[in-house]
Symmetry: C2
Subunit: 384 residues, 2 copies
Amino acid sequence: MQNFTFHNPTRILFGKGRIDDIAQEIPAGARIMITYGGGSIVKTGTLSEVRGALHDFTVFEFSGIEANPTYETLMQGVELARREKIDFLLAVGGGSVIDGTKFIAAAIPFAGDPWDILAQRAKISSAVPLACILTLPATGSEMNDGAVITRRATNDKLVFTSPLVFPRFSVLDPVKTYTLPTSQVANGVIDAFVHVTEQYLTYPVDAKVQDRFAEGLLLTLIEEGPRALLHPENYDVRANLMWTATLALNGLIGAGVPQDWATHMLGHELTALHGLDHAQTLAVLLPAMLQVRREEKREKLLQYAERVWGLQQGDEEVRIEMAIEHTRLFFQSMHVHTRLSDYGIGVEAIPALLVQLERHGMSALGEHRDFDLTHARRVYEQAI
Amino acid sequence: MQNFTFHNPTRILFGKGRIDDIAQEIPAGARIMITYGGGSIVKTGTLSEVRGALHDFTVFEFSGIEANPTYETLMQGVELARREKIDFLLAVGGGSVIDGTKFIAAAIPFAGDPWDILAQRAKISSAVPLACILTLPATGSEMNDGAVITRRATNDKLVFTSPLVFPRFSVLDPVKTYTLPTSQVANGVIDAFVHVTEQYLTYPVDAKVQDRFAEGLLLTLIEEGPRALLHPENYDVRANLMWTATLALNGLIGAGVPQDWATHMLGHELTALHGLDHAQTLAVLLPAMLQVRREEKREKLLQYAERVWGLQQGDEEVRIEMAIEHTRLFFQSMHVHTRLSDYGIGVEAIPALLVQLERHGMSALGEHRDFDLTHARRVYEQAI
């Protein structure tokens, strides 16, 4: 096991009706800005419910945070928050709204150009406190310190992290996920699945608990993902998916083990240039990545084959092949495509993707930091 | 899944050499009291190492905290800390030292009689911040908000919890466990094992992740426990045990599921009246508890038989019987007795144990709150 530091101060309020409890978690007298995306939380009544729970506070709203939240949009939120002297942010939505709100939280008190927080990884020394009401389990942003932000003008999709943007609390009410469109449920399951594999399908360091926990999350996604599509109002299925997605990226399973994240980095460029949903890029790229990196990941792929897919017998190469194929079939069972060609993207698209990767400094990726643009080209080719 | 709130702010510094990092985790200018037990941390050099890392601070020492730490001893620590205006406590040791230090932390600023914190469960409104250097993985106290304290004068062994006594940070360096006596290693493994079963072997609430995580911890203890006895300086074995023991009782696997704890409560009286080590009481009582409660715990016992012991075939009663027997054999493989008669304790001891339980209000225990003194008698009888 590698040395690690683990610290996660986010308070989780999990279960039915927990929005009722938020007022006591927010400092008295706070000037709150509720942030959200389109109008779905208006239609479902969640926004009214949240506002009702906050009747003792001064509340503003900032809406319009889009999927793959953009710097351009978020800076409008920063302006509003500065103007109204907001001192608490409450994100109501999924990973995009939460990520965007983390950026707003960091940008409000930032002295220089807030774009530097992303482009220069400028260190932030303070942030407005934030909290979340999660409506879409997927990214884990509700219990971690990271965010991914896109700059529309330049097609940059960049990450920043800071312990200052851990949510103070996050409400996870599975009932709030009943009304999600099927495609968003499926995307969330795949996003969480690949968050786990990025931290699990690397090389062994004899970290037995982290491995067992990762396998437990994958098994739960495999069992519950298809059931969520069939039975959207099964509370326990939704609860299991919601808690799994949070634990998939809250720092726990990645503590003390190598991490990959190349699939994510290659995926970001597909979203930036071709507009695929984040999870769609992962479903396309993960099977390809595992094929291209099967030698480097051999031992963990065999463990994955055995413990996640029950493949213990026969030739090792066949077991690995079958594990990758089971992964692809699982994504397909969630009705998500696993080939770039399904989106009309062919080899001609690859050079521009590689230029983007290079421009973003992504030429030494993966758990061995040896995954370069040649490897990236092979993965994109394999994914067609 | 049941509703739950999860919050654990303790920062974990895990791995080789992490004592070097503690100074930056403690407020500048702090007046620190190092707390410890007997002289083992003096002999091993850990105390010098800790003092070396704290050369910029004013440091006092309070030693002599015993296994099953007593109110009588700890109050001497409270007096010293008050006299010297201590504002940071650093526990160096195992669960007893950490538990004792939590009590000192709460008692220092307590206005009334500190015994009320235990006997009356008096609410505390402040505590001196504390941190830990863990040398004995077992209780999980290094990453939770609970403590068990004994009053020697009255044979009371009582629990208190408060979010104010979460350690600010805990150093988990597996190397520090190499020199532990075999019996303490074995006790730690059994303690962690039973912490998991108290939160897992209850009744199903379809909490898939919590179940998988609990099973992952049990499997790790079963794999690594005997190896730690055979190969005391195998770093990865020690690292896996250390992280497992912490995760067994940091609130994670117990979030959203029913909990039992009757085995612990019956065990506390055995320690108080007969001086058995805490883990010795658990090894004796868990197999007996599972026999007595096999109907109430039937579904989870079958899941445990299958996922932890690989027992999937044949008659269900036989599978349950074998799972309980495997549990007993595992404890014995750690060289810990599993019968009260092994300690010379017979039926004649039971009435006094029941009087103690009644006096401590322990007459509605277990995940159904229906475990009364009649059940307790049957468990003690079964354990002989």
